[in-house]
Each structure stands twice: as C-alpha cells, then as structure tokens.
C-alpha cells in the first residue's frame, strides 16, 4: 500500500487502488471526496475557512483557506474523470484543540465545510468533527473508505509552516 501524507494547504487526488492518503488534523479540516463510478478520490487539508475582507495574504497563506482548497481538489478530480454531481464527501477535523483563543476555529472550519458542501450540492456521508482531540485520517480514494482515529488527549497539533508560495502572477504581460 502506497501512502501519501498531506499537510495543511495540500491535497492529493488518486485514481488507482492500493494508495492511501493520510493526514493529521487539529482544528484543520480534511474533506475526502470520491466519485464511485469514476473510482477517483481525493483529500485536502485546510487551516481556515475563508479570508477576511481587507487582510493582505500571500499566495501560500491563501492555499490554506477552505474555499480555494476545495476548488483545487474538485478541479483536480474533474481532470481525472470525476463528475461533480456524482461526488460524495466525508468530513473530518475541526477540533477546538486550544481553548481560550477567542473564536472557536475548529467549529468555524467545520461549519464552513458543511456549508460549502451544501451550497455545491455535494452529498455528505460520514462526518467526524469537533471535540478537543486531534485526529489521524486515512483515506482509500479508490474505494472511498476512510478511517479516522483520535490522537492523544486534547493534544494540540502544531501547524507546520505553509509551503512556499508557488510562483504566480509573475508573468509580466499587463
């Protein structure tokens, strides 16, 4: 079994058997999508739901936002033959692992993911969100099966640094 670990801001799409996508979640969300007919599946891992209005963000920061993470995942699945109307989702993460930091980030992330999937008309299957514990998610994209296990007891997961921004917008044509 080949394992493809992802961290925040990343995603993987797979259309072959014997491949597992894995990730470790605290307040982040992982959405697992699958098209059963096309046998194409993928998972992302995003940190926050949406950018706030006037905040200046780098491209790398923005990759951590759910709305972009979801679009990248859906587009890549469609490139591999999936059809949006056939996709179903599983939803994990959104724990409030660190208390006393104001708005409950995990709760907000989970609410965003549910709202996004509802707006896009993607059916939601198994969901395990909220609480205070970190989670490990293992997803078999070809089969559409996921396993979610708890990691430690209310252990905050230190988010890794965002990956370096992919060079974008540097094509000076305008």
């Amino acid at each position: 079994m080949k394992r493809l670990p992802i961290i925040q801001g990343e995603y993987q799409v797979v259309a072959e058997p014997d491949v597992m996508i894995t990730t470790l979640l605290g307040s982040c969300i992982a959405v697992c999508l699958q098209d059963r007919l096309a046998k194409v599946g993928g998972m992302n891992h995003f940190l926050l739901a949406e950018p706030s209005g006037g905040r200046q963000l780098s491209a790398a920061d923005m990759q951590c936002y759910g709305i972009h993470a979801m679009e990248l995942l859906i587009n890549e699945m469609m490139k591999r033959g999936a059809i949006r109307s056939r996709m179903s989702a599983q939803l994990y993460g959104g724990a409030n692992v660190v208390s006393g930091l104001g708005a409950p980030i995990g709760t907000n992330n989970a609410a965003f993911a549910r709202r996004f999937l509802e707006v896009e008309g993607i059916a939601v299957g198994h969901t395990d969100v909220g609480g205070r514990q970190a989670r490990k998610v293992e997803f078999l994209p070809y089969l559409g099966k996921a396993r979610c296990t708890y990691v430690g007891d209310a252990a905050p997961v230190a988010p890794p640094m965002p990956v370096a921004a992919v060079a974008g917008g540097d094509l000076e044509l305008f």
């Binding site: 006037g54 491209a59 679009e71 974008g168």
Partner: protein, 129 residues
C-alpha cells in the same frame, strides 16, 4: 477615476462558493451591480441581452473553459470590447499567454486576496473611487 459603483460586473465560475466570495469582495470594493453565472453559455446569453463593463471569469470550467469563453466574447460584435479578467490556477502560465493572445485585459492567479483582485481591476480601469 471611475466609480466602482458605476461598473457593471459579470462573475463566471462553476463553483457557487467562489462566485459568492468574489461577489462579496467586489461589493466590499464598492461595486453595486454584480451578477454571476455558473458557466460561459449562460453568461454569454446574459451579457448579450444586458451588457456589462467587466467580465471576471474562471478558466477551469467543465463545459466551456475560460479561453473559449474569452474567444466567444472577443468575436462578438456587440460585447467584443468588454473588459475581461481571467482567474487562473497558479501553474497556468501557458494559459495566461494564450489568454493574452486572445485579448484578455488582465488575469488573477488563484488563490487570491481581495486586494489582488482590486489591483488587477484598477490596472485596467484606473484607480477606483
């Protein structure tokens, strides 16, 4: 300096959440007349019957991609000169070059912050009030 509130905009993206996010960003920038469609076919029909000043379109759409959409707009004798800004993925330099050849006015690389969208619009229309 043009007033953002006087510029009519059509947003085209197959993802409803992305359309909603762009709408909100434009409204925060002062745009009042923002319409949106899920695909180029519906958008072409809408802007032919009720013209807009600016089209902001995704590239990656299932039925007709952003380049084909741009080509259709530029070929149209009525709406052919509409300002067209394309939203592209981060690794799509080839697409940007093709879009430039087809007459795109500017492009925004996804993911983008609202400030980046404002900057690209202002490069075409001038500083917005």
């Amino acid at each position: 300096m043009p007033a953002a509130s006087a510029i009519k905009v059509m947003v085209v993206d197959d993802q409803a959440s992305m359309r909603a996010m762009i709408r909100r960003a434009l409204q925060d920038l002062g745009f009042k007349d923002v319409r949106d469609k899920a695909g180029p076919v519906e958008a072409l029909s809408a802007v032919r019957s009720d013209r807009v000043h600016l089209i902001i379109s995704d590239y990656n759409m299932p039925d007709m991609d952003g380049l084909q959409f741009l080509e259709q707009v530029r070929k149209d004798p009525v709406i052919g000169k509409t300002v067209f800004i394309m939203l592209t993925g981060s690794a799509d330099k080839e697409i940007v070059q093709k879009a430039a050849a087809l007459g795109v006015n500017n492009y925004v690389v996804k993911p983008f912050a609202p400030a980046a969208l404002k900057e690209k619009i202002e490069r075409v229309f001038g500083e917005l009030t």
